[in-house]
Symmetry: D2
Subunit: 341 residues, 4 copies
């Protein structure tokens, strides 16, 4: 079975696994208060050119989104997100469970703009309404698109103007950096807080939250504990991030994933396949006739994105650290066969 | 430095680490919907003689307590716990954060009794009060004591009588089973739900929640996701539990930990040391003059439990899977020297 | 100033005020456990032909929506509402504050249909999504439209089919009953719970919640107290509802309000005025050129509903128990003058 | 039946009722944004010598406690209260429902001290614990005792020292001011926020929240709406507070209530009756043999406070604005007869 279902189905990249094995017998204080976590945090601060940032390590993405947004907002405040945003639909109402409304904004390409943000804040001017306070973006987005540095800066300017916080869910930040023109320092400069996703970039698990805005830093570890988001053997997160941030491995993994996905996209386009949206990252969203999708399901693993009119279906192909050129070539051969049957 | 700080400072037991490495390249569906988790769940159901139980895997203990209690209770319902209970003090108000009061009951030895539970329910009879609904116990308790099977059965009878749920936090369930007379089936027979702790028993991380009561089972996975408690590469939990539940390793690790701690306790008693409480498990709570404690801190790692009158301090020694007889002998030698200086 | 701003700006209808004064010196048990509340509840049960319904009295509408929805839902469950629904926008995220997502569904005329409900439930089929569980409708709706009995029955059938609860916010139930073909028994037959609004129908304050579904009745008073929704001098609610439910006063007030508003609508249509939507109740939504609105603001009190293209604005006129034919005639004269200037 | 059950069983003081009737036909903007509320707020600011305070009007006491504490605290922060405090037991976990732990501190006379507060904050120093942030006191307390101005100042100093907020639940503030040596300005000087209770001091309903600390003022009305705590016909609260604050009526009512209760206490003491605690306010807590209590229940209305050893019971007598000297004399006669039977 050709595997393009997602980027979190294999275990850890060998370098990460090796680090875990090498340090397995170490004895360290728990809960992330250990030298490995401190070293990894320091590396992230250096990469981001953000020496005063607070860096916290989480096991998962919903966990970090929920904890950060819950900690940053006051009870009457709401988050703004693209309606495709992960927090809108696919986290079982985790943000609402902590008391905050999420305003769903239209965003055909998965990206918010200063105009949509401004319209949402202007529409919430009454005391009988929630107060929009935090802009949630994902980069890469849920449809594989990528914010450019100019777009991030424009969002930052709009947030400054409107008194909003900018939070970036970087579950696939590696892919976004590798595919875009904003590096770690760009995120640190534009966002009040953002995550550096590890789970989908070669770790067994792990998301690093970088809190740049000093006003959001105090007591954050209490919030983490309250949310059940502190890992007892916390150093496991530090060890993994140290390993993946060494020798540029983090971005190498991401760049390779992007390249394989884009190579697949090029091959599909050559076969006349259309796409939901142009996505330069490791997620692509081709559209096939339903009967081709049915055939594909027998030979490849992938997700259905959306049923479309005229018996067509948009599906998602994702590459992971374990994907190979052979996988891509194999999939293209299958698609070609199915399209010409 | 002699290490008796806790049982979650080393990495994984070698057998567990080997299993993780062996399966690292596998490609499985995420979120715990994979053959490894299903197999581990099936093993737990078999060990518990609870074929209809739902088994869910979590990364951490606060996470599972918070998710389970939040899912089981209605808004007006409260949890009852010994005032030493982990949810009372050391989870940063995680249960309250989800809207539920925790009633702290006195329990000098860390154990609730039918009488204390009954008194608490009788004291909450008005519509202007919360309704006690869930009894939270820990086994082993936070002071190392262990509920016997008879005690568990008495709690079950009281809960039946009072319309209460019985939930057991088994972060150290291995130690409790190894030190006590209740086995897995005893917990399944007495509790509506309980956890099988892995983090403190040889895993990198992992707590298995066993929901015996069918009324508490529906939609539980939605709750887990809402709480950010679903691990993307969920099979890591299944793989680890499979490894530790094989060949009785889970209880072997626990029995060995208990034995080392009890051997330490015997040695300390022989030196005339008193204890906070009699604890037959892998946590012991000796009392020393403050100046001995100061000396110990230079040669051993441990936690302070409580300052006591007359310049004495109760401290905690914990053994883990990595502890050795040499560690115990070394510590006894240090204590002997310090006491006789 | 001609007053058409809303239906909660005058005090109580004289009959209600008289009852409050007459009973002022009575001494009764607090919190709604008094003969006046019991008598009013019994009257409501009788009017609704729902002898087993639980009836609870609240001071305000947001309070009752929040308390009921919070009590009826489990943590993973969501409410479904028309995007114009009061709980969606104008209650400052009250439902989300208690942990529940509100799904906003499109509804141009303010009304949900079986099809929109069905589509929403079908779109939420994953464990990573909230579970739609309660359908929130308002009758009259926020744009003055009214569900017919056939529409209510169709919603009930859809809810039965989909396993959903049907909750009707009857802040203006009097107006809906007077304008529509469903009486109190129709609401009791179709809804799991609904409110009988008093604040906008002649009371100083007061909403009666009728819980028809017995599964939703237990411990509801604990929830009310927890939400701060129990009035100390609770009999004030019973006294007022007794007064307004006597001799059909409740529906007389509503019918008169509707008649005045419809008389105004007829007059405006005769002047060529268009409307946002056809609304047969005491709220109407005419559209005027902006300069007419500016002129109106100097002579009448009303709310702006929505800015429209081409320099037009939709505004809202509402009649209350204190409105008079002279008010209507006066407003028509002003509009006529402004339109012809 | 002699009525000493509570101080919220009669309707409104005649002067308050007259004001409601006089203004009944007025037409004002809703939600407390009206001249009556503004005038009442201004009067309170003047009485408190706190020209910058924000004043908000609520219908009930649990509602204001819940809304204020929920608005003032961040998720990881907790309230500190005497274990007798109203928020600890008698509000069905309303504060916890909004996510905050309430730390119950021992206080035999219902009063917190700097020492108990300090001990509680010192005991919560870990990241795994909630952060005590708000001190909740009631004046008069739930056992009728009264904080002196010196005690309030000492609490203020401790709060300043420890970084805590001081919140006073003044459900019976009138009685506390009339019985103590702190006036309105004393509360404004010592508290970050406090309430001026109306429900138990002659109003149909109404609690005024005075937020002195400017950091706690922004967006408070959004919070009120979110909690369902905004009264549609908001001016009813302004009208009532205006009436009761005129000509010193507020304190006259309270002083008269205190005087009647103290006259009753003197009479009971003369009959040899003991008390739970010395309380100089309108609530007194005599202790009787159970058989006397049984006799009393046939002739008087009151609450049971607590069962005591040796077949004795502590009960509560409360005077209200409607109580009379005849009531007191009548009750003393009954008690005398019962004690001598």
């Amino acid at each position: 079975m050709l595997f393009f279902r997602n980027d979190y189905s294999a275990g850890a990249h060998p370098a990460v696994l090796e680090a875990l094995c090498r340090t397995n017998a170490d004895l360290t204080t728990g809960y992330g208060l250990d030298p490995r976590c401190e070293a990894a945090a320091e590396t992230i601060r250096r990469l981001c050119a953000a020496p005063e940032a607070a860096v916290h390590f989480f096991v998962g993405g919903t966990q970090v989104n929920k904890t950060a947004i819950g900690a940053f907002l006051r009870p009457w405040e709401a988050a703004i997100a693209a309606s495709t945003g992960h927090i809108c639909v696919h986290e079982t109402g985790a943000v609402e469970q902590d008391g905050h409304k999420v305003l769903h904004l239209p965003a055909p390409d998965g990206k918010l703009t200063p105009d949509t943000i401004r319209a949402a804040t202007e529409a919430h001017s009454s005391e009988h309404m929630v107060v929009p306070r935090l802009v949630y973006i994902s980069n890469t987005t849920e449809v594989g698109t990528v914010y450019s540095l100019a777009e991030l800066r424009a969002l930052r300017a709009a947030c400054d103007d409107l008194g909003l916080l900018l939070y970036c869910d970087g579950a696939r930040l590696g892919s976004a950096i590798a595919a875009g023109d904003a590096g770690f320092p760009g995120y640190a400069a534009c966002c009040d807080a953002f995550t550096v996703g590890g789970t989908k970039n070669g770790l067994l698990f792990g998301e690093a939250l970088v809190i740049v805005n000093p006003a959001l830093q105090p007591y954050f570890r209490n919030c983490m504990k309250q949310q059940g988001a502190v890992l007892a053997k916390g150093r496991l997160l530090g060890v993994q991030f140290e390993a993946v941030l060494k020798d540029n491995l983090y971005l190498s993994i991401a760049a390779r994933e992007n390249k394989l996905a884009q190579s697949l996209a090029v091959g599909l386009r050559a076969l006349g396949v259309a796409f939901l949206v142009e996505s330069p990252s490791n997620q692509i969203f081709p559209i096939f006739p339903d009967k081709v999708v049915a055939g594909l399901e027998r030979e490849a693993a992938f997700e259905i994105q959306e049923k479309l009119p005229e018996d067509r279906t948009c599906i998602r192909f994702v590459t992971g650290w374990q994907s190979t050129e052979e996988d891509v070539e194999g999939l293209l051969a299958v698609v070609k066969r199915l399209l010409t049957q």
